[in-house]
Symmetry: D2
Subunit: 306 residues, 4 copies
């Protein structure tokens, strides 16, 4: 029974994600007050793993996660999960839609179902709470009639699901990472992602050269986020997600090139992608290509061949 931390409280989308990433039957899921608290618990060994949101298709990157990954002791991602952001309308058992006069949720939650509320609960008053699960708790306590919550909230609060799959932005999604201390490197699956942080030099073309090192090895960059270094205004730390696993030659070779080229490179993990479409590695960049080139170079250096 391992302790798995997550950004709480109970009943939120992060709990929903951690339940996909760590079997709740075999692990103790522990909510933390903040993202930095989750990451600190991973670093200290208080928890074996920690689950945090990393980006959302509407809100963008989650700055607290970005900063927690880049600064302080090292942690690595060992898994990811992409969750559709679909809300559930929870109400006291027996209550019908027409009875609802007050509906509560976190302001973000309310914002994301605004249209649905206008169409389906035009007369209900929307009330802001500190979290989507807090709204469910308040409904259970009788403070409000209904809550807009993550589906998982129903696990903790015995309420009725009056509607599910709510969300004005079609296909809204959040990506979560499962973090661990270094030492754990999931085996390559052929459909992996590698995350890293790089701080480039200040020369013209520095970032262009970093991306060129990837492109020349046919590596697909799936995400590039910037965060200020907090040192000098106008200097940035870049977060890169690429398709592939550090155990693969093209990825390892590119990471070594970035290590040479950048002021700082931090490895943030290689882990299976949620979408399982395998990488198509093109001809000059397969592991076999790298191994054959390396064998050839060794023979050349030993003077065996030309």
């Amino acid at each position: 029974m391992s302790r798995i931390g997550y950004f709480g409280p109970q009943g939120t989308f992060t709990e929903q994600a951690v339940r996909q990433l760590a079997d709740p039957e075999r692990n103790e899921l522990v909510p933390f007050d903040s993202i930095p608290a989750v990451v600190a618990a991973v670093r200290s060994g208080d928890v074996a793993r920690g689950c945090v949101p990393v980006e959302n298709s509407v809100e963008g990157a989650v700055p607290a996660t970005m900063d927690a990954l880049a600064l302080g002791g090292p942690v690595v991602a060992v898994a990811e999960h992409v969750l559709p952001v679909q809300f559930t309308l929870l109400a006291k058992p027996g209550m019908k839609l027409d009875d609802i006069k007050t509906v509560a949720s976190h302001p973000h939650g309310l914002a994301q179902v605004r249209e649905w509320l206008d169409n389906n609960l035009p007369k209900a008053t929307a009330i802001a709470t500190n979290s989507t699960s807090g709204a469910a708790r308040d409904v259970l306590a009788g403070t409000f009639d209904a809550a807009i919550s993550a589906p998982v909230a129903a696990l903790h609060y015995p309420l009725a699901e009056l509607a599910t799959g709510l969300g004005d932005v079609k296909d809204a999604k959040t990506r979560f990472l499962l973090l661990a201390k270094p030492g754990i490197l999931p085996a390559p699956t052929g459909a992996d992602r590698t995350s890293l942080v790089a701080v480039t030099t200040n020369e013209v073309g520095a970032l262009s050269n970093v991306l060129h090192e990837l492109a020349l090895r046919d590596i697909n960059l799936t995400r590039l986020e910037a965060r200020p270094t907090r040192e000098e205004f106008g200097t940035y730390r870049f977060y890169l997600d690429v398709e592939g696993h550090v155990a693969e030659h093209r990825i390892g070779d590119a990471l070594a090139a970035l290590h040479r080229r950048c002021l700082e490179v931090r490895f943030l993990g290689s882990y299976p992608r949620t979408e399982h479409k395998p990488d198509v590695v093109r001809a000059p960049s397969t592991d076999a290509d790298f191994e054959s080139a390396s064998a050839w170079l060794g023979a050349v250096r030993r003077g065996e061949i030309a």
Copy 2:
């Protein structure tokens, strides 16, 4: 007398910035409730200009500004201002440091002077308000003893400045943009910045090629931010700041190349940089180089020379 909108309320750092960007003696400064509201007022012509924060050296990019610039009708930046984030401690006239039992501010403000408070007002209770200027208003109303505010708050609330230049993060800065409707293109000064938004294709190396178009023209990329397109998860809109003015050949030529190469390019303005260090344009990329090459090409195409 033009109306100049800014992200309010009165007494915040954005007001401080707009006062640098638009002479308050000759313009009417109008606070708006939100960043989208400022941008909407620029678009509608309700205000001639609008001032919004765009990035902070601690918090990073301001998502509301990024999204407002990229989506909806076009607006362009015509000026920028970089403001040191230094707070002032405002209290009722006559009050001394030792008398202060309660100190109020927006949570971000409190967070940024935490150390100073611990060292200088160890016994005072910190209280969160909705804005840094709201805290000053509350002090004037007698609710709290002191406020951590932007220096400009003292203009609106007749309070005593007990301490200035407060801020735990050394050199914290915020950059603000002054927005206008297209049609206004500030003249090149030799030390300009050009901002744009680009959505690349999905091919491996697409962003690398975009940056290469800049690097090959010796264009210095000063900022690259990603925001989700909100269409498909894992697709991004990139915000690029480069040194130079669209009226310069190397910038115009690069923008045209990006227009060809990207799914979408939006021009967000060319405007003088706050720091006035002039661009050093290297040999193959000066305007003279472009003009001489263009003249040569014209002659070649007319069959005049080889």
Copy 3:
């Protein structure tokens, strides 16, 4: 009736080529002693056009042509022709293969039919002459029994063709250019070639950047030859052939970029390729892409759009 010069003497492959490039019924074909003499005659206006070999699939580039194009007054290619190098065995009328005791040709010609001679004229003695057509002339004069010549030699010397299509190297070919003074720019056909000379700076990556300017515009480099500049040892002049016509935007744009980037660029002409497979110009590099980008940039600079 124009005078068309060619690298003689009569009866060689260059005459064979010039007959394809200039209608012999409507032009006077004038042999010259050397390649520089042909080019000089074009420059002086003594001839309207001049035909010279430029590269051979076995021997490589023709240095005399390379140097004549790059140095001295400008000339441009207005057409090319690729000729299979297939020899003909010419002998006195009535003579049979078995009768041949001596076979003459230029040493290059003899070298290229060595195998055929071994198999078909094993007993004949091979004798070197100054040119393949000189051998035919000598056969007519009775000095030798047979000649290995270009097929066109039969036009000038009434000899019998005992065998044709001879050549040990399968698919051996020579490419010829038809040169003119600048002022003549053949219209684009959709399957053109543009030739140029460039001298790069001495910086690391200079040639790489030149090729990158082409690659970023999807321009296919079909040939890159180096010749010493004759100024400093280890400095080179590069001859580039690319697919496309200078009237096309991607080519003109790339040539202008090279003009900025290189110490020297000389345009050597845009002309239809012998093989008529039309260029497939990819999406970001079509003329329409360039025109749309240019129109957009103009509107941006006029402040009309963003």
Copy 4:
């Protein structure tokens, strides 16, 4: 006493070069009739080393050497020598300039001293011989009055040097290679050259990518020559000379990348450059940078650090 082959005959510039590259007191210098014969003797072990010209600052690349290096069994260069092409006027002892009525040399030799002859021997008749040393031999035999020869010819033919350092093209030079069978890899000196042959794929940008692999590792390309592959017209084999030694990481790494990327790569040796100006290897490309990156990658892959 090793046998060292060279492209003869005796008394030519190649002999002059081989005497710099192999101590004539301790080796037997053996002239061969042709460049392919020298290379074949190296391959067969008939000679321990072979000396051939590889490029000339006036004539360009020596095709016979290029082809001999690329085709057939492997040979590698183990040394180079750059020789100024300066001729000597040799005459029978006692003869004065004014007495000279005939002056003989290889046509190339005559061409390169044309101006000097016009100015100093305006009345002498120039006569072509098969080699510059053959002219000296003929002078000794009394056939001609004087010879334009390589200085070394005087070693073999007891003639008087009436003038030295002759050459119309200032600074004309020839570079020679000393070839050996693979197995011999001279130690790095910090001022080395590495030669190789590469055949690229047929894709747009293939050569550009090859050069980019070099440029990204700060490798200075000092020479790029093309020769037809002889297979399909318009396909080429590229000869690259770069500064650095295959034992250095940046060179080895680049060669491995080329091996992956190209249809064919042949290593032609790493050897000290004639000019001893040491390589200045820039910051991200030193051996220390590569070793540190490799150590870091190893630790990442073992899960030790992030």
